[in-house]
Symmetry: C2
Subunit: 149 residues, 2 copies
DNA sequence: CTATTCCATAGTATAATGGTAGGAATTGAA
DNA sequence: TTCAATTCCTACCATTATACTATGGAATAG
């Protein structure tokens, strides 16, 4: 499945903010852009959406930047996805101009609706914290590896 | 998730062929188009893809048309999907120009790859026959309903 | 030989995607 | 008060994908 860049980069940006937040300090968009190798101006647009979706709070000016609006374990992946792309978890085709007992409707129910529900099961469980954990664990394993050489 | 019309209509067309095949008779594209309310010429393009993917065989001429190239329970949904849209089950982003231990890679592994595998689990089990069963069952229930009134 | 059917390619209008660009607004520090 | 750093907001644009329409050719049964 093709994931568009807004969704992909938005989640990466949130993860970056979560990982690089230090007490009291906001994370600058230019730093995120540099670390994650994203166009700064494009990232700003994505952060705008994330702010409007209440995932981050922002602060202007010389020591400005972004921080999470709530703890990472309270930020659900499915909410992020819905905010960044309202199609990705939307049920495939709503347009029910055909008779509800036709083949098309049957395929819709048996295949697309069920697939959609199935995907939701996966995504509704996950939080931003789960993603970060994975990353930190990766780092830790790497350090252990270095240590034991 | 947004499903494009080629995928949607292609599956519907296959289901229609499976349902309306009678012994020895091919199903005409014009009949499918009329029953399923699809543009005939567009449907022909889709049937072309399905033929190239070896899901149907075709026969030209006055009594021509399409029939399944093998029993419906041997036609896997995932194969149809891959033929009609090579993105739908493809792993989200391959482009690994970033360092493999970065946040982006971590999100890829933990989220997109896993979600993709999860979707596959659902779709790899299903055959065209399963879809048709659902439809026929719907019909049967409807008839029972009529019967018991 | 002709009607019927599939086969194949070209064109096209619309929308989505993936950005770039420019500057206004706000803030904090000197 | 001024200035630099930062977010905020909108407009624009090039490319690609989508969802068809259109046209005509090729094969085949009768």
């Amino acid at each position: 499945m093709k994931i568009n860049t807004k969704v992909e980069l938005g989640i990466v940006a949130l993860a970056d903010i979560a990982i690089h937040s230090e007490e009291g300090k906001a994370v600058r968009s230019s730093d995120i852009a540099q670390r994650q190798n994203i166009s700064h101006k494009y990232l700003e647009q994505i952060l705008l959406i994330l702010r409007q979706g209440k995932f981050v709070r922002s602060h202007k000016g010389i020591h400005g930047g972004y921080h999470l609006s709530r703890p990472a374990n309270k930020i659900l992946l499915c909410d992020i996805l819905n905010t960044l792309d309202n199609n990705i978890l939307a049920n495939m085709y709503e347009k029910n101009d055909e008779q509800p007992d036709g083949i098309r409707a049957s395929v819709n129910n048996c295949l697309w609706s069920n697939l959609n529900s199935y995907m939701r099961q996966f995504i509704e469980k996950m939080t931003l914290e789960d993603l970060i954990k994975e990353y930190k664990q990766g780092l830790a394993e790497e350090q252990n590896y270095m240590y034991y050489i």
